[in-house]
């Protein structure tokens, strides 16, 4: 299986592509510069070698001439031998006027350099000859051959060192760039995951701003967008719940209209007919008619109250639940005094609910406790607050020692106009707890109860500590 360049490129990440392009560009340009420098240095060294050759032969010529004048060939040979020890000098030759030739040669090992590099250097042996003429008389000539192998090797070593340094530099650059890119891309990956979570319905996905400034800015924007979506979704959920509640209410109201509201009307009609038959002189029938009319009015008042809850403006700030409980307590003080009961308020917090609804909520719960108190003992009601499992909410509890409720009625008691006792035993239309549930659910909270028949009931509900549509406290 072969990996074509196109597939390799296609499989590279953005960071890899950037890095590869950067490395390729810098490698090509730096290699070009290195070879340019090598060619220039070689040229300079060649010039230098030419000058050195000239200097060497200028030094050699008079020494050989002195000995040629005397005819000391041994001394000339020694001089030539001394010169071939000099750096770069490969061959020194003296040829006299008659053609006699003395020479000294040193085998310089050829430079171990690749042929391409050697061609770029373009250095060749430097040969210079100088005739020896003194007073017009020729004493032959001297010639020198200088070999650039040592210079070539030095330049080659320099090139290798430069290339090694550059390779290290490239590696370091690549490593650092990779680290920077990874560090920069990691937040983008987190963002991708967060988007995926939101796609799958987890609207709580948020990002901790990290990475480069522009990425952090993007993440802050994402968080704001996610918050807005979550708020809108929550609002939509609440609207849906309210719609559902309204629909249930409407169904309930239909039932009321068909049953509860018609019952007094039928009673009025029936007793009005009796009253008509007896010439209008039947005080008992008249009393039934008046009683039915009163119940009709009471029902209408409670329906009005229940419906009004939906039209009260929602909270735009926090309010003290303690103050609301105290107000409700004050309103019910005559009833409480009459029954000899006692309500204890714990440390109640500030909550995100308008004061009017909160007073109504406590008033209904306290009234319920008073109404369903046990005849065997003095009423004791305790109001307390504790942290809720629901983030940003507090759980409030109103516990009494009343007659209690059977478990089978736990859900039923919150329905509108649902009653567990006859009106003769416990007066009322059965709308109070329905109103309490509506207040709590409109605030985004939940309500429930625990009760043991004969021992007491504890209503507990959650209320937001802050605006649930905004994560900030």
């Amino acid at each position: 299986m072969t990996l074509s360049p196109f597939r390799f490129w296609h499989g590279l990440s953005l960071a890899g592509r950037l890095l590869l392009v950067l490395l390729l560009c810098t490698s090509i340009s730096t290699l070009w510069l290195l070879f340019q420098q090598l060619a220039t240095e070689s040229h300079n060294y060649s010039d230098s070698l030419v000058r050195k050759t000239h200097d060497e032969i200028s030094s050699l010529a008079p020494q050989v001439a002195d000995q040629a004048l005397i005819g000391d060939y041994t001394a000339i040979q020694q001089i030539l031998d001394r010169f071939t020890v000099h750096a770069y000098v490969e061959e020194a030759i003296w040829t006299d006027a008659k053609g006699i030739r003395l020479f000294s040669h040193t085998d310089k090992p050829p430079a171990k350099i690749p042929a391409l590099i050697r061609r770029i250097m373009g250095m060749t042996d430097i040969v210079e000859a100088l005739p020896l003429v003194i007073g017009g008389h020729s004493y032959g000539s001297v010639s020198l051959r200088l070999d650039p192998s040592e210079i070539q090797e030095q330049l080659w070593r320099n090139l290798l060192q430069s290339a090694l340094g550059l390779a290290l530099s490239w590696g370091l650059q690549a490593g650092l760039i990779l680290v920077v890119l990874r560090h920069s891309i990691a937040p983008l990956t987190d963002m991708d995951e967060a988007v995926h979570r939101m796609e799958t319905g987890d609207l709580s996905a948020r990002l901790y701003p990290s990475g480069s400034p522009e990425v952090r800015h993007l993440m802050v924007g994402f968080n704001a967008m996610a918050q807005a979506i979550e708020s809108a979704t929550h609002q939509s959920g609440r609207n849906l719940a309210e719609t559902e509640t309204a629909r249930a209410d409407m169904a309930r109201f239909s039932e009321i209209l068909t049953h509860h509201m018609q019952e007094p009307v039928r009673q009025i009609v029936a007793f009005a007919q009796i009253l008509q038959k007896c010439g209008g002189n039947d005080p008992e029938s008249l009393g039934f008619i008046i009683d039915a009319a009163r119940r009709q009015r009471s029902l209408l008042t409670d329906i009005e109250l229940y419906l009004a809850l939906s039209h009260l403006p929602l909270a735009n700030t926090t309010a003290s639940s303690m103050d609301a409980a105290k107000t409700a307590l004050a309103d019910l003080a005559p009833l409480l005094t009459a029954c000899g009961g006692h309500i204890t308020l714990g440390n109640l917090p500030m909550v995100w609910l308008d004061r009017q609804r909160m007073v109504l909520l406590f008033k209904e719960l306290f009234g319920n406790a008073i109404e369903y108190r046990s005849p065997d003992r003095t009423l004791e009601v305790t109001v307390s607050a504790e942290p809720s499992d629901q983030d940003g909410f507090v759980r409030l509890s109103v516990a009494d020692n009343g007659i209690g409720i059977d478990r089978q009625y736990f859900d039923m008691i919150f329905d509108v106009f649902r009653r567990l006792h006859t009106r003769d035993v416990h007066p009322g239309n059965g709308i109070g707890l329905a109103a309490v549930r509506k207040i709590v659910t409109m605030a985004g909270g939940e309500i429930g109860l625990e009760s043991t028949p004969g021992q007491g009931t504890c209503f507990s509900f959650t209320l937001p500590l802050r605006n649930p549509d905004n994560g900030a406290s």
Binding site: P62, A65, L69, I70, I134, G135, H137
Partner: protein, 291 residues
């Protein structure tokens, strides 16, 4: 056809005649010998060559005798060549000692100068005023062979009982260089060379002692050289001063040596150098052997 045959015969005869002439000419060319011309080391070897090579080239052309410069590393070496009779011609005044008269060298010419003196010189700013101040001092000499630079001044020092520490410099200009460098208190020199050196190098010096005047160094020929050759060389030498070409050569080499004017050659003979022989006759016995 016959005419062609006759022509071929003539051509062959002509070629044979040419070949015969060439065969005859070859021994004559083989006899063309190069004669060695020794020059006493008064200056460095290259300076000697720069001066004498143009002169020898001129003489070779004019006299029809091939002359080649031959010089030793030092004056004693060159003199040793003469003593071995390796030199056909020589420019030297080392051969007038009684024991060297039998070597066969005879004077044929001499430079046209007033002559030479042996001198003991010091730098112009030296505190030394006479030879007695040199007692125990380092004095530079060219070599023991040098007539003007050693034998004349050393004879005078010995006769005045002044013992000095001799420092041999190899040649005349070597001794002068030692003096200029301050390595010796005085130098014994050839008056003519000293004057030329001082002029060339801008040196100021003072003469503590000088000898009587002697004829300048002669050019001698050995008697194993064919007389015709000697005569030809002698004639060319003497005529050089009258020949514009010769004077041009002399002017050129005089400039190299820093001499004011060119020095031509005049005819001379052994008799002109009687003063040398007189000196050797009265020379201090301790100087008789140059070794």
């Amino acid at each position: 056809m016959s005419s062609i045959t006759v022509s071929r015969r003539h051509v062959i005869a002509g070629l044979a005649a040419c070949a015969s002439l060439a065969a005859l000419a070859r021994p004559l060319r083989a006899e063309e010998k190069t004669y060695s011309f020794g020059v006493l080391n008064q200056r460095s070897v290259p300076l000697i060559a720069q001066y004498w090579n143009p002169i020898l080239a001129y003489l070779s052309r004019k006299a029809g005798v091939s002359l080649e410069l031959k010089v030793g590393r030092t004056a004693p070496e060159t003199t040793a060549m003469a003593l071995r009779r390796e030199l056909d011609f020589t420019y030297s005044n080392h051969l007038f000692r009684p024991d060297r008269l039998g070597l066969g060298y005879h004077v044929i010419a001499a430079p046209a100068t007033e002559g030479i003196r042996g001198q003991v010189v010091v730098m112009a700013d030296s505190r030394l005023r006479d030879l007695s101040g040199l007692r125990g001092q380092d004095v530079a000499f060219p070599s023991k062979e040098s007539f003007a630079g050693f034998q004349l001044p050393m004879d005078a020092l010995i006769k005045d009982s002044i013992e000095v520490k001799p420092v041999f410099a190899g040649n005349q200009e070597g001794a002068m260089g030692q003096l200029r460098a301050g390595r010796v208190a005085a130098a014994a020199v050839n008056s003519q060379l000293m004057a030329a050196f001082a002029l060339r190098e801008g040196l100021s010096y003072r003469v503590l002692w000088q000898s009587e005047l002697f004829r300048d160094i002669p050019i001698m020929a050995n008697d194993h050289v064919p007389p015709a050759m000697i005569t030809a060389v002698q004639a060319a030498l003497i005529a050089m001063g009258d020949d514009p070409e010769g004077m041009a050569v002399l002017s050129q080499v005089a400039e190299i040596w820093g001499i004011n004017k060119p020095i031509p050659f005049i005819r001379a003979s052994d008799a002109d150098y009687e003063s040398y022989r007189r000196f050797y006759a009265g020379m201090s016995p301790s100087l008789e052997s140059p070794e």
